[in-house]
Subunit: 370 residues, 2 copies
């Protein structure tokens, strides 16, 4: 992303800051951190942070430790990099005093209860004391609607994934194991320039395809059974996410019917995804079609989710918690039917919401190939 | 691990429960969850859990959602799998009432402030209400000392990593890029049966080797410069972690001196790692040697850390917070010297602490190869 993009984001954050009883925002969540500063590091373990941001009306600091100083200095746009020699709990209070912080906004879905307690204790000892104020989805909400540059980045990510998936599908032969196929996907996406996978690839064949979240096994794929490929990459930070279910040498009648139902549900939902519509509507549309076809008990998950710097982000397209869809959101449309012990079908496209409907970003199509 | 291993762990947890004002323990942290139940799933994003455990004196539940039910039922030992149809906040209070929970112990380093608030609010409405009690490192402390079976698993993990690293090193040639080498490491470890890498491989050449936490780049490796390989795999859940720094066609005199200092520091520290010693002692020993050689400013990180189901776990071998080392702990010994802009050397072994000293698990040696 261009430097001006980061400046715009910071300006927008500062504007939102005016509505809150907060003078400093503290950002730990890795994608939020990257969104605002350009710092690409990930966090190895939940309890290990590679850095966090402190943003006031005037200043921007990236606070890290010596392992990440050089990377941070290379990557951040307009942030001063501060290297703490000891842990957060020790150096952080001093930093806040220097910034003149009185009310610190923190990400309540990312700061653990234990860290909050530790900091609150240290902050009470400062004079003047610093108070902690919970923020829920503060930067996540900013990330919900994508800019033109972001949509381009996601298009590139989806293009890479589509190309690789097309090649994988062309080369599918009975006897290959799920693990081998998953590994080929990873190799081709890396060679294609992906930063990493967006999530561990799902390659699920036969009865395994009945598990929405299957982990690839040593099972060999066979003809005339569902083979579900749910894959995505991260390219320049942005994720793609797409699913195809296919059959070598055609599908048995039962799965042909299931496939047609899922495809019909997906297309009907797609029609409903447009600006101004409640996020529950496309889900309800797909669910009704699946229910009417007699598979109501076999579609357990939500229809879709937002995608961006994270694979799963706002908005959620499920049966609950409606939000209004907006132009610039990027979401998945992924109904599925899963018959325990037998197999399942899921079809997923990633689409950007435009003025009058959607544009599909995951371009490769392998429908009705039986 | 054998079923009896899990039973022993649960018995030990229940015994510790007697010392706390808690009747039910709630375990969310993925490695803690696997340690106690055998459930292997990982959590895709920080805000997404694939399940959690509820353990009372009589019952063991694994609470998950429909995406993970089948996997959970296959993997867990002696846990009843409960599938919540809606989110945690909705189904959880009812479950606790069923269990008769009054005081719920939660992992304060893993439960976010926001989730705690949400649950506390729901729990207050129950009659009788459920109180939340923070647990810090409850299961992590149990994991600190390894059983014989665990040491065997870690030995197998280190063996696989050592074999792969030896092959990689044999094939190192000038002109290969860091990324290519990292990718080869990943391929060979997967072929060797690894579940995954334990962490993203570090392949850092020339000036990049001055970054303790370098990410592989497109830089081509050259002769007579440091090439640092910091690698590990996860095999049957258990991690390995090892680092070699080497030079093709020999090291320039400056790096020869740095290498000898790091190696001397590593061996001296190794001598100190034994039962009954404070964890700060080996770190101090290595640090003193590096300081005396004039490189005191260039060793920023701790000497080492515990390894197990997680790459980084207890105990920490650093200059602060001493704990007493015990037989059965598995730790790393990894001093380093990093000259910004020039390059660095880190050497790392993973060792198990035995009665009279240590046994090195990372067997391949590539020392003094210049």
């Amino acid at each position: 992303m261009k430097a001006s993009t980061y400046r715009k984001r910071i300006a927008s954050l500062r504007e939102k800051l005016g509505d809150l009883p907060v003078d400093t925002v503290w950002i730990l969540q890795p994608e939020n951190r990257r969104y605002l500063s350009g710092f690409k590091a990930t966090d190895g373990q939940l309890t290990e942070s590679s850095g966090s941001l402190l943003i006031t009306r005037k200043e921007r600091l990236l606070v890290t430790d010596s392992r990440y100083t050089t990377e941070a200095e290379h990557e951040v746009v307009d942030f001063e990099v501060i290297t703490l020699k000891k842990g957060l709990a020790e150096g952080f209070p001093k930093l806040l005093s220097r910034l003149g912080t009185r009310n610190l906004g923190f990400e309540e879905q990312h700061v653990t209860w234990g860290l909050h307690q530790e900091l609150a204790k240290a902050f009470r000892k400062l004079s003047p004391p610093v108070r902690l104020f919970p923020l829920k989805g503060f930067v996540e909400n900013m990330r919900e609607v994508k800019s033109t540059d972001e949509v381009k980045a996601m298009e590139a990510s989806a293009d890479l994934m589509s190309r690789v998936l097309a090649e994988i599908i062309r080369k599918l032969r009975p006897g290959k194991t799920e693990k081998e196929i998953a590994w080929q996907i990873e190799g081709l996406t890396r060679e294609g320039g992906a930063e990493s996978l967006a999530f561990p690839s799902i390659v699920a064949s036969g009865p395994n395809s009945a598990l929405p979240h299957a982990v690839p096994t040593n099972r060999k794929i066979r003809t005339r059974e569902p083979i579900t490929l749910d894959v995505g990459v991260k390219l320049d930070g942005y994720c793609s996410d797409m699913t195809r279910t296919l059959f070598l040498d055609g599908a048995p009648p039962r799965f042909r019917r299931i496939y047609k139902t899922v495809r019909e549900a997906q297309l009907a939902a797609l029609e409903k995804i447009r600006p101004g519509v409640e996020s529950t509507v496309p889900d309800g549309t797909a669910r009704a079609i699946i229910r009417e076809a007699g598979f109501g008990d076999y579609f357990g998950h939500s229809l879709g989710h937002g995608v961006g710097l994270a694979t799963h982000e706002k908005p959620r397209l499920g049966p609950e918690k409606p939000v209004t869809l907006k132009e610039g959101m990027v979401v998945t449309d992924e109904p599925g039917i899963y018959i325990p012990g037998k197999g399942g079908v899921r079809l997923e496209e990633m689409v950007v919401i435009e003025k009058k409907g959607t544009r599909i970003l995951t371009k490769d199509r392998h429908f009705h190939n039986f």
